[in-house]
C-alpha cells in the first residue's frame, strides 16, 4: 500500500515500508537531501521538518504517521523566494559548516508561525532541541529576532547586518 502525503505542497505517493523513518524516505528514496541525518534518535534536530506546520524530527517519525498529512522540508519552506529567516541567516552569517542549519531554520520557522515576536527565553525553549557543533547559537538568536522584526514591520526595509552593528566596539 503506497503512502500518500503532501510534500512541499505537492501530492506524493511512496511505496515504502510504514516503519521506514520519514528522514530516509526523504533522503534516500526522494533524494531530498536538505533534511540532514545527525543522530537517528531525535537528539540533535538536524532532521527537523514540519508536519502540519509543527516542527518534528524526521528521523523518529515513521512513514505510516505521515499518511494524508502535510509535510514541509527546507526545500519547500520559502516557496519561490527565501523565507525571511533564511534571509536573516544569510545576512547574519549564521552558518559555519552549515550542516545543522536547515534543521535550525525549520525549528525557528515553526516557532515564528506560533509566536511572531519571541523573547530570548522563547527562543531558547523552542531551539533547545537543535544542536550546533560550530557554536552559532548567538547568531541564531539574533537572526530569529531580526526575522521576527521583519515579519512584524513588513516594511520591506532590510536591517543592517549583525556584523556591522556588533563588530566595532
Amino acid at each position: 500500500m503506497p503512502i500518500t502525503f503532501m510534500l512541499n505542497d505537492r501530492s506524493i505517493s511512496l511505496d515504502v515500508e510504514g516503519e521506514m523513518p520519514l528522514l530516509w524516505a526523504l533522503r534516500d528514496v526522494l533524494k531530498l537531501t536538505g533534511t540532514k541525518f545527525g543522530c537517528g534518535a531525535g537528539l540533535c534536530g538536524a532532521c527537523t521538518v514540519h508536519r502540519e506546520g509543527e516542527a518534528i524530527r524526521a528521523c523518529t517519525t515513521p512513514m505510516s504517521s505521515v499518511q494524508g498529512r502535510r509535510i514541509t522540508t527546507i526545500e519547500g519552506l520559502g516557496g519561490q523566494a527565501d523565507h525571511p529567516l533564511q534571509d536573516a541567516w544569510i545576512r547574519h552569517n549564521v552558518a559555519q559548516c552549515g550542516y545543522c542549519q536547515p534543521g535550525q531554520i525549520m525549528a525557528a520557522s515553526a516557532l515564528l508561525a506560533q509566536n511572531p515576536s519571541p523573547t530570548d527565553e522563547d527562543i531558547d525553549r523552542a531551539m533547545a532541541g537543535n544542536l550546533c557543533r560550530c557554536g552559532t547559537y548567538s547568531r541564531i538568536r539574533a537572526a530569529i529576532h531580526d526575522a521576527a522584526g521583519q515579519l512584524q514591520s513588513d516594511s520591506g526595509q532590510t536591517p543592517a547586518p549583525y556584523y556591522q552593528s556588533n563588530l566595532e566596539s
Binding site: D28, L85, D124, R133, C134
Partner: protein, 728 residues
C-alpha cells in the same frame, strides 16, 4: 601544527625552514580541471572566454570560512567582488600540497596564513597579464587600463576580461607588485559568506548528500573495542531482508550494502559476529587513570623543553607549589557523521568524500584497489564539521574496501553511534606541574611533566602512503607505515603532546617540560587545537594557582611575567578592559581570565560565571584576539564564538570513558553538546595589527577551560583540576 611538520621532517620529506614559495607554473601533470580554451595562469585561477572567473580552492570548507576568506584574497587583486568569483573545489594535485605538512591537507589553522601572499600574487599576475593583453589589442598604454569587477576599463568602455583570455595565454608571468593596503576594497572588511545562501536553502552538498546512479548505502558492524578483529560471523538472516544487496566482511568488520540507510541499519542489527578482542578490552578508564599516575611517578620521560635547571631553582625558591591535572579522552562529534562514496571501475576509482586530506584518501584508494595514482579521482565536498576528525581516513579505507568487495557503487555512512565509538580521540592526559616563587612573587623555576598517548603513531600509519614517494614498492610503504607506532612510541617525541607547554610564554629563570608516552590502545587524533587544548588548561590554571599563592591579582600576576611577550600581554590588557576585570559581581558570581598563544595567534578570554545550587552557569565571555592582519573580521569573530562554545562543551561536559575497552558514550544523550539555552553571550575584540596573519579556526578553544576553572575558583574556592569541571 609543528607536530605534523616534525613528522614529515622526521621522514626526511621536508627541509628546515618554511616553504612558502609554491611551484605555480610548469606543472608536469595536468590540473584536474584543465581546459585548453581557458586562461589558467596557475593551479588557482581559471578565466574563461565567457568571462567566468573560477577559483580552485585547495583547502576544504568545513565552517572555518576558507571559501570566503581565500576567495577574498583573489578578489582583492583581481579588483572584483568576491561573489562574482565562482569557488570550485580543487582536485588532488602536487600544486595543492600544503607546504607546512607536505600533503594536501586542511588543518593547523594554516590556510590563510600560508596563502595570504601566494593567492594575492597569483591574482595580481593574472590581472597584469590581462591588462597587458588588452593594452596590446586596443593599442593603448597599459597605464590607462583599469581592472574592476570582471572588466577591463578604458575611459568609458568596459570590456569583459574574458575577451582577452586568449591573448593573455601567450604572455609570460610578469613580476607584479601587490595592492597597497590603503587601496583594499575587500581585505579587512566583513562580508556576507559565499557559502551562506546554499547552506540555508538546503542545497549545499555535503559528502552524505552525494547522489549517483545505482548508489547504495553501506554500514559496517565494527568490533565494539577498537583493534579487535572478526573470528567468525553469520548473516543470521540479514541477507534475506528486503533492500539488502550484499553483506561482506572487510578488515574492520562486516559491511551491509542496501537500498537505503534504514534497510542497511535494520540488516546490520541481525548480523552476529564473534570478535577476537584486543588488549584494550582489559582496560577501563579508572585503570588508565591509575596507569598514567603510576607512570608519572616512575618515569622521567623525554625532555621537550629545558632552559636552566628548573628542579634546582624550584628547590631553592622561597615558595613552592605543585598540582596535578587530569583530562579525559574527547570525541569530535561533527554534526555530519563520517561518510565516503566510492565508484570503482576496472581502470578508474572515483571518491566523493568530506575530508581534510584528499591526497591521503587518494593514496589509500591506490593501496586498496591496486590502481595507480592517475586512475584515482577524489572529489571533496563540503564538510559538515571537521575539527580534525577528518584528518583521519578510516572512512575512505572502509568505503574503498566495500566497493572492491561488492563491485557496487556505495556510500558508506557511520551511524551516530559508530561515529562516537570509532573516533580518533583527543588524548587523555595526566599532567604534573610545579613551580617556585621568589620573595617578590616572581617565578624562578617551572617544571611540567605530561603523561599521555601520542597522536603521531596513528597519523603516521595513515599519512605514510600519501607522503612516501610513489615509486617505492607497496610492501615497503606499508612496512614503513607500520613502523610509526614504534618510531613515535620509543624513538621520537610527538610535539603534539607538549605543544602549548613548550612555547612557555611567561618569564621564568628556568623551565622544563617533559613527556612520558603511555598508550592504552585507544586510537588518538587531532582535535581542534590539539595539544594546546591540554596544555593551555594546565598552564593557565596553574598560573592562576600561583597568583593566588603569591597573593596577587591573576591578571597582574600574568602581566608581571610577560615582559618578553608583549602581544600576549596586549590581548590580556584588552580583554581586562572591555570585559571589566575586577568589576564588582553579584554574590555567587565571579570572573576568570586566561590567555594562550597558538597557531600564530594570541587569544585572551574573560569568563563571568555564577553558581546556583551547584549549577554552573556561564553568562558572558569576552574575547580579545591578535591574529595579525585581518582578512575578514566577521569570520574571525565567528571562529572566536564557535571556538568558545566548542571549548566550553569540553570544559563542562566532554568525556569519553572506557569500560572493558569499549567506549561507553553512544550518542548526544551521553556525550552532550552545549545547547542554545546554555550558550553565553560572547563579545569579540580584534586587535589591529600589521603582523603576518595568524590562524583563527583553533586558537579560541585553548583558553576557555582554564578561564572557566579560574572563575569557578573565584566563585566557590574550589580549585577544579580535572576536566570536565565538576563542583563537589
Amino acid at each position: 601544527m609543528n607536530s605534523r611538520r616534525e613528522f614529515l621532517k622526521a621522514m626526511g620529506l621536508v627541509g628546515g625552514g618554511l616553504i612558502l614559495e609554491l611551484s605555480l607554473s610548469g606543472c608536469t601533470t595536468p590540473l584536474p580541471h584543465g581546459n585548453a580554451r581557458d586562461f589558467e595562469p596557475d593551479a588557482w585561477l581559471q578565466i574563461t572566454p565567457q568571462n567566468d572567473i573560477r577559483f580552485y580552492l585547495n583547502s576544504v570548507e568545513m565552517g572555518q570560512g576558507t571559501m570566503t576568506g581565500m576567495a577574498t584574497l583573489i578578489a582583492e587583486e583581481l579588483n572584483t567582488e568576491p561573489y562574482m568569483i565562482e569557488v570550485k573545489s580543487a582536485g588532488v594535485h602536487a600544486d595543492y600540497v600544503n607546504p607546512f605538512y607536505g600533503v594536501q591537507v586542511t588543518g593547523g589553522s594554516t590556510s590563510t596564513r600560508i596563502y595570504y601572499d601566494v593567492l594575492r600574487r597569483s591574482a595580481a599576475q593574472a590581472r597584469e597579464m590581462l591588462r597587458a593583453a588588452a593594452a596590446a589589442e586596443l593599442g593603448v598604454d597599459v597605464a590607462l587600463l583599469e581592472v574592476r569587477d570582471k572588466h577591463i576599463i578604458y575611459r568609458d568602455t568596459r570590456l569583459p576580461m574574458g575577451r582577452f583570455v586568449q591573448a593573455a595565454q601567450s604572455l609570460s608571468r610578469p613580476e607584479v607588485s601587490l595592492k597597497s593596503e590603503r587601496d583594499f576594497r575587500f581585505i579587512g572588511r566583513p562580508s556576507v559568506r559565499l557559502d551562506g545562501a546554499m547552506k540555508v536553502r538546503g542545497t549545499a552538498q555535503y559528502g552524505i548528500d552525494v547522489q549517483l546512479p545505482d548508489l547504495f548505502t553501506a554500514l559496517v558492524k565494527r568490533c565494539p573495542v577498537q583493534g579487535g578483529h572478526i573470528e567468525s560471523w553469520s548473516p543470521n538472516g540479514a541477507d534475506e531482508l528486503p533492500g539488502v544487496k550484499a553483506i561482506v566482511p572487510i578488515a574492520n568488520g562486516v559491511a551491509v550494502v542496501a537500498e537505503t540507510y534504514w534497510h542497511a541499519q535494520r540488516a546490520l542489527q541481525a548480523i552476529t559476529v564473534s570478535w577476537a578482542m584486543p588488549a584494550l578490552s582489559q582496560r577501563s578508564s579508572e585503570d588508565i587513570r591509575r596507569e598514567f599516575e603510576a607512570l608519572a611517578a616512575s618515569e622521567s620521560g623525554r625532555s621537550a623543553l629545558s632552559v636552566g635547571d628548573a628542579r634546582a631553582d624550584i628547590r631553592a625558591a622561597a615558595l613552592q607549589h605543585a598540582a596535578t591535572y587530569r583530562l579525559p579522552y574527547l570525541a569530535h562529534a561533527t554534526m555530519e557523521p563520517m561518510n565516503c562514496t566510492v565508484r570503482l571501475r576496472d581502470d578508474h576509482c572515483e571518491i566523493w568524500v568530506p575530508t581534510q586530506v584528499p591526497s591521503v584518501c587518494a593514496a589509500i584508494a591506490e593501496e586498496v584497489t591496486g590502481l595507480r595514482r592517475h586512475q584515482i579521482t577524489v572529489h571533496t565536498t563540503l564538510l559538515g564539521g571537521g575539527f580534525g576528525r577528518r584528518l583521519s581516513v578510516d572512512y575512505a579505507l572502509e568505503a574503498t574496501q566495500i566497493a572492491k568487495a561488492t563491485g557496487l557503487t556505495i556510500k558508506l555512512v557511520f551511524s551516530r553511534e559508530d561515529d562516537m565509538q570509532h573516533d580518533y580521540y583527543r588524548p587523555a592526559a595526566h599532567a604534573e606541574i610545579k613551580a617556585g616563587l621568589d620573595e617578590q612573587g616572581r617565578i624562578t623555576g617551572w617544571h611540567q611533566k605530561n603523561v599521555n598517548p601520542n597522536i603521531l603513531p596513528y597519523a603516521f600509519q595513515e599519512f605514510a602512503t600519501a607522503v612516501l614517494p610513489a615509486w617505492l614498492p607497496d610492501g615497503l610503504v606499508r612496512g614503513l607505515a607500520n613502523l610509526g607506532p614504534w618510531v613515535y612510541g620509543t624513538l621520537l617525541m610527538d610535539p603534539a603532546s607538549t605543544e602549548g607547554a613548550v612555547e612557555f610564554g611567561y618569564d621564568s629563570v628556568s623551565a622544563e617540560v617533559r613527556h612520558v608516552q603511555a598508550d592504552p590502545g585507544l586510537r588518538t587524533g587531532y582535535w581542534r587545537s590539539v595539544g594546546h587544548s591540554i596544555n593551555a588548561f594546565v598552564v593557565e590554571s596553574f598560573m592562576d594557582e600561583l597568583a593566588h599563592r603569591a597573593g596577587r591579582d591573576p591578571l597582574q600576576f600574568r602581566l608581571q611575567h610577560l615582559a618578553g611577550n608583549p602581544r600576549l600581554a596586549a590581548v590580556l590588557r584588552q580583554v581586562a578592559e572591555v570585559g571589566r576585570w575586577g568589576a564588582p559581581m553579584e554574590p555567587g558570581s565571579a570572573q576568570g581570565i586566561a590567555a594562550h598563544y597558538s597557531f600564530g595567534s594570541y587569544v585572551a578570554q574573560l569568563v563571568e560565571v555564577s553558581v546556583v545550587e551547584g549549577d554552573i552557569r556561564v553568562h558572558r565571555v569576552t574575547v580579545a584576539i591578535d591574529c595579525g592582519k585581518t582578512i575578514n573580521p566577521d569570520i574571525i569573530k565567528a571562529q572566536m564564538e564557535g571556538g568558545v562554545i566548542f571549548g566550553l562543551t569540553a570544559a563542562l561536559r566532554g568525556e569519553i570513558t572506557l569500560q572493558d575497552g569499549r567506549v561507553q558514550q553512544t550518542n548526544f544523550h551521553d556525550y552532550p553538546l552545549l545547547r542554545i539555552h546554555e550558550a553565553p553571550a560572547i563579545t569579540v575584540h580584534i586587535l589591529s595589527s600589521a603582523e603576518a596573519p595568524g590562524g583563527v579556526g583553533e586558537p579560541a578553544v585553548p583558553p576557555i577551560a582554564p578561564a572557566l576553572a579560574n572563575a569557578l575558583f573565584a566563585a566557590t574556592g574550589q580549585r577544579l583540576r580535572d576536566l570536565p569541571l565538576r563542583l563537589s
